[in-house]
């Protein structure tokens, strides 16, 4: 269904404190922007809470996730704060084995924000929710004084029902399991850094912001139940593997050369002194499957453009010494290996 914004932007071009007061101006934003953009029965019932029919999905378990978004710049090559908010929360549900169904959006808008720019973000949210059929069933709008917010802060919360039987769980991890990654890593962090610092990389580096649900659904539909899966976000692939390994008494053995990194990401990382292993992603997952599933899982991920560059990057291994429990080892073709550790704080571009 097409949507056009009927809000009188020429008469009221910017957000004012009155828009957050809950009165007529707030209502005008809802009536002329939010409700038409996300029209669905639960939202349009306009209750204080969205009444959702869980029974129709047939699921007995739900997954619930929330995330806050403060990204600067608000719009970047490959996405904006709206697409991030939708994909971020829906991906958390997807890697938990749940079909994303409902999300809410809590906006904190800064006085003086051009409403047309907020409408652009709403459009982005609409595009990304419609892509996988997730519904926006509630939300909130608050306005802070000029100077007290960075134009838009957005919190999204989402609920989904566990699909088929979901994932097997980390207690099933065993030596020999295959560790897969759904695509090339490190894109989003570097794309944001280039956009924020106005580094004129040509062509501009695109974020990997995107949905993981289609790929996860395809795996579950084919009868492949991953043991664990994680959405790679801040901290990158390396931090995600370290976190996964912390919940397991064995170790992970990863081959450096198997990790897919796009040439342009590698080159920009090299220029800035950033390690792509620790650079953020917003549309990639790592998953562990039993060895017998790895070939079919990769075929499915690569089919139909779901995850063209999906690869096996390593294996789960047993340990012989207690101090090696929870280790993530990075082997390279030089014939050495090193253990990966968390980094403190964010990566900074190198001076020289």
């Amino acid at each position: 269904m097409n949507w056009t914004c009927s809000f009188p932007l020429d008469r009221y071009p910017v957000i004012t404190l009155a828009h957050g007061a809950g009165g007529k101006l707030t209502q005008s934003l809802l009536d002329q922007i939010v409700y038409p953009a996300f029209a669905n029965p639960a939202l349009l019932a306009k209750g204080d809470g969205a009444v959702l029919d869980v029974g129709s999905s047939g699921a007995s378990r739900l997954v619930f996730s929330t995330d806050g978004f403060v990204v600067t710049p608000r719009k970047f090559p490959g996405g904006d704060i709206g697409s991030l908010a939708v994909c971020g929360t829906c991906n958390d549900l997807a890697v938990s084995g749940a079909e994303p169904q409902w999300i809410t959006l809590a906006w904190i808008l800064e006085e003086g924000l051009p409403i047309a720019e907020w409408v652009d973000v709403i459009q982005s949210v609409r595009t990304y929710t419609q892509a996988i059929g997730v519904q926006v069933v509630g939300g909130d709008i608050k306005v802070v004084e000029r100077g007290k917010g960075d134009q838009i802060y957005l919190t999204s919360s989402g609920v989904g029902s566990v699909y088929r039987q979901g994932l097997l769980g980390s207690s099933t991890l065993a030596a020999g399991d295959a560790i897969l990654v759904s695509g090339d890593i490190g894109r989003h962090g570097v794309a944001i850094l280039c956009a924020r610092e106005k580094l004129a990389v040509q062509p501009p580096l695109q974020s990997d912001c995107g949905h993981l649900w289609p790929a996860m659904k395809a795996l579950l539909d084919a009868g492949i139940r991953p043991k664990v899966a994680r959405d790679l976000t801040r901290g990158g692939l390396a931090t995600c593997l370290i976190e996964l390994a912390e919940g397991f008494d064995g170790a992970f053995d990863i081959l450096q050369e198997a990790i897919p990194v796009a040439d342009e990401v590698d080159q920009v990382c090299e220029l800035l002194g950033i390690d792509p292993l620790f650079s953020a992603n917003e549309g990639r997952m790592v998953l562990v499957v039993q060895a017998s599933d790895q070939v079919r899982a990769l075929e499915i991920l690569r089919e139909e453009g779901l995850s063209l560059f999906a690869k096996k990057i390593g294996e789960v291994v047993a340990v012989t010494r207690p101090e090696e429990r929870h280790a993530v080892w990075l082997r390279n073709s030089f014939g050495t290996r090193r253990r990966i550790w968390r980094i403190s704080g964010e990566q900074m571009p190198r001076i020289c």
């Binding site: 002194g273 030089f334 014939g335 090193r338 704080g345 900074m348 190198r350 001076i351 020289c352």
Partner: protein, 374 residues
Amino acid sequence: MEFLKEFRNPMRARHLLDKIRQTVTKPTVLMEVCGGQTHSLLRYGIDSLLPPHVELVHGPGCPVCVTPMDVLDQAHRLAYLPGVTVFTYGDLLRVPGTQEDFLSVQAKGGKVKMAVSPLQALEWAEQNPDQIVVFLAVGFETTAPAHAAVLARAIEKDILNFALLVSHVGVPPAIEAILKDPDNRIQGFLAAGHVCTVMGLESYYPLVQRHRVPIVVTGFEPVDLLQGILMAVELLEKNEFQVVNQYSRCVNSEGNPTARALVEQVFEVQDQAWRGLGVLPKSGLKIRAEYAHWDAQLRFKSELEILESATGIKLGSVQKAQCHAGEVLTGKLKPPACPHFGKECRPDSPLGAPMVSTEGACAAYFSYHERSAL
């Protein structure tokens, strides 16, 4: 040619390792000067693949690590001044000064911004005429031309709300100081490749003649480092002492005369304090007197003196006595041998710059500890 993949090629690396093993006949101690080289050596585990005869000692080529504490303290304090915004490279944000680091300064209301390029600071100054922008200009010869270019542009365009807080150092005086040390064990050097893109090879010839050591200008990828080590080993085995260029794809013998001319236009050489090495003669840069308006240390001299007497804390006075930066930077102490390594001193609670800088040797050992040949 793809410079990343070709110079990370494992087959080439193994071939060079074999040649090093076949060539070396006696204990050989080499220093790689640049912190970026140190990180690469450890990241790829090259130190664990070299034959036991060959020892690599890590040099002072980490611009953040050698920046004196009082310069950092000055920058921190300037950030609190009304009407002043300090721009710094990201690498300096977490380096502890006497009382705090830039992130704490920012959290407490100081105005700090990160710059990837000094041009960003100058552009921001033009867009924000109500603020005086102070850019913390640190580095070796590699970054001096960029700072000179920004300063020259500020002078040319008469951008008056801009200043540099300069702490610049040069590699050859550091090598000289290391070689003059009576306890010196270093027999040859892998010189910092990117410094030489600016300086060329000229300044190393007197060192080779005076001290009879080979100096190999070396790149940063694993194959570069192994090739540089092989070239140094070959020269030492033949008792030949020369300056040779392994990094010829980036470095030519004349360097970049245009860049050097730009540096000479706005800077002059001075004796310079190095963290951990003391004052080395003619080893640093200062802004020429005729451009004093853009020299933050002169411009804010009285404000800094007032702040010092108000707090009662002398700039740079509270040295972290436990931090052994000097010994680490001159190769006398390998980071894991430091009594504080990994205990009180970790990247999230560093005692000094070498543990927190991306080119610091201590940070390299911490990031890559637990590494081995398979």
